[in-house]
């Protein structure tokens, strides 16, 4: 690597540091919770489900939901986002300022991320996901609703 390339790389890293600082400063003016869907641990998710404050969305298919779901969860099949959203629009709009938690099958299911991302795009800011999903809930032998 020539000295010039090293110098350019160092300058670029300095630019990255400046951007990092600028990002930190700008994000200090925003609500940190709104930046990315927060990932809840099982205990946090249990507490949220028990408190029944906000909305709990099950992003799996309707069949999976019918086979068993977290008590209090509402079916919101992520694969039919538009239809799911329209069906629940009044409820969702009413809960816009409340926390919304989305879960799907398990760690390798990306549907909760997709639903969270699309809801964020629609102006919902207080969204979290439970990455462990239904698998983690069942593994912990927690109450189910059918």
């Amino acid at each position: 690597m020539t000295r010039h390339l090293q110098r350019d790389l160092c300058a670029f890293l300095l630019l990255c540091a400046v951007s990092l600082a600028a990002g930190k400063i700008s994000s200090a003016f925003q609500d940190q919770n709104t930046l990315a869907p927060r990932e809840l641990s099982l205990s946090e998710f249990r507490a949220f489900a028990a408190a029944k404050r906000g909305l709990l969305l099950d992003a799996r298919s309707r069949d999976s939901y019918a086979g068993g779901h977290v008590p209090g969860a509402i079916s919101f099949p992520g694969i039919y986002f538009e239809g799911s959203y329209l069906a629940l629009q009044p409820k969702l709009e009413a809960a816009k300022s409340q926390p919304i938690v989305v879960y799907c099958s398990g760690r390798y299911c990306k549907m909760s991320d997709t639903v969270a991302q699309r809801l964020a795009r629609l102006g919902f800011r207080n969204i979290a996901i439970f990455p462990g999903g239904w698998e983690a809930w069942q593994r912990a032998v927690l109450p189910e609703e059918r």
Binding site: H4, D8, L15, L20, K24, L35, A36, Q117
Partner: protein, 160 residues
């Protein structure tokens, strides 16, 4: 490489176009940081804690890189930064496509899926940035040769 007559306008024009694209992309992300964070999260490239940091700093990096390229000062830094960024974006998009994720690329705000279109555009930007960087390097090499009569090349890129 012998300079083409069109280079007189080609290079400044290319610098302004690529720089403006980067600034536009960065500002669009800044305007809707939560959606960009959600897009980054869906790409599954970073752990969740790093996603917020990347979502807030990446738009600034794009805007600064674009601005330096348009301002043409420091000459090589803007080109190097845009080359590094577009190259990294192309790698990230390729990885997402290889993993078969159906995610939003968040390139210019929400609404654009990861796909061949986004990859092609990033590769085009990377090529343009590489060309600008190479020209900036040749220029600094020529300046050095003129002042020191040295035969070494600039930036480790050997022109033909």
């Amino acid at each position: 490489m012998k300079a083409l007559p069109a280079n007189r306008w080609l290079l400044p024009g290319l610098r302004v176009i690529v720089g403006a694209i980067f600034m536009h992309a960065g500002l669009a992300k800044m305007a809707d940081a939560p959606t960009f964070a959600a897009s980054l999260n869906a790409l599954q490239l970073f752990p969740n804690t790093l996603t917020s940091v990347a979502a807030t700093s990446l738009p600034w990096l794009e805007v600064l890189a674009g601005f330096l390229l348009v301002a043409d000062w420091p000459r090589r830094l803007g080109a190097f930064a845009t080359l590094a960024l577009s190259g990294s974006f192309a790698v990230a998009i390729s990885l997402t496509m290889l993993r078969g994720l159906d995610a939003d690329c968040g390139c210019f705000g929400p609404g654009e899926p990861v796909g061949w279109m986004a990859l092609g555009r990033d590769l085009l930007l990377a090529t343009a940035a590489a060309f600008i960087y190479r020209e900036a390097c040749s220029e600094s090499r020529n300046r050095r040769s003129y002042s020191t009569n040295s035969s070494s090349t600039g930036c480790g890129i050997n022109p033909a």
